[in-house]
């Protein structure tokens, strides 16, 4: 399959700390995207990084992409209780494919 693993599966940290989540994939990609999902709710697009980019920032989010290792990381700095959610990476393969392939996600809990 196109998608690999995300780790950790669950992460619990104190408010104010940084949270790092990792994602691996298996095929060549056009881009990789990170989404957030609050419990039982919709998918919120956070950031898209293209295969020719290595790092991208958006507010407190920092995403890196290492295509040689087929991996990406999402860093949330200065975490807040409102960041508690599941975070998913999703890839679009190179070539004609149009579908997003999602990982299993990381369940992040921020403790006040």
């Amino acid at each position: 399959s196109q998608q690999g693993e995300e780790d950790p599966q669950a992460l619990s940290i104190q408010e104010g700390e940084n949270a790092t989540m990792n994602c691996s994939y298996k095929t060549s990609i056009n881009n990789l995207q990170w989404y957030r999902q609050n419990s039982g709710r919709g998918l919120v697009h956070l950031i898209l990084i293209r295969s020719n980019e290595r790092e991208k920032h958006s507010g407190r989010l920092r995403v890196t992409l290492d295509t040689s290792k087929k991996s990406s990381s999402l860093l949330i700095t200065a975490s807040r209780a409102a960041d508690t959610a599941s975070y998913f990476c999703a890839t679009i393969a190179q070539g004609g494919a149009q579908k997003l392939v999602f990982g299993q996600g990381t369940r992040l809990t921020i403790n006040p």
């Binding site: 709710r41 919709g42 998918l43 149009q98 999602f102």
Partner: protein, 112 residues
Amino acid sequence: EPEVTQTPSHQVTQMGQEVILRCVPISNHLYFYWYRQILGQKVEFLVSFYNNEISEKSEIFDDQFSVERPDGSNFTLKIRSTKLEDSAMYFCASSEDRFGYTFGSGTRLTVV
């Protein structure tokens, strides 16, 4: 900010009944998608739709499923004869360029 709208937010149906899930994509988007997420599992691709036809579908998308864009604004997913295992959150998404997606907030389908 433009949104993808899904209705209903929650639908309960009896096994064997037909259901239609409705979506209004962003108006200038050309690519439309349905995904589903069984409780506690990852988000799975069902089907993509472009230029009034299916462009890609997964093995989940069997003869029980169909999609339609009946009037140029709505995008529907029909399940002909629902099974218990069809219970899931169904997400509609649209894209202007087939790389950046906007997801709706989902329809929770419960088959009893």
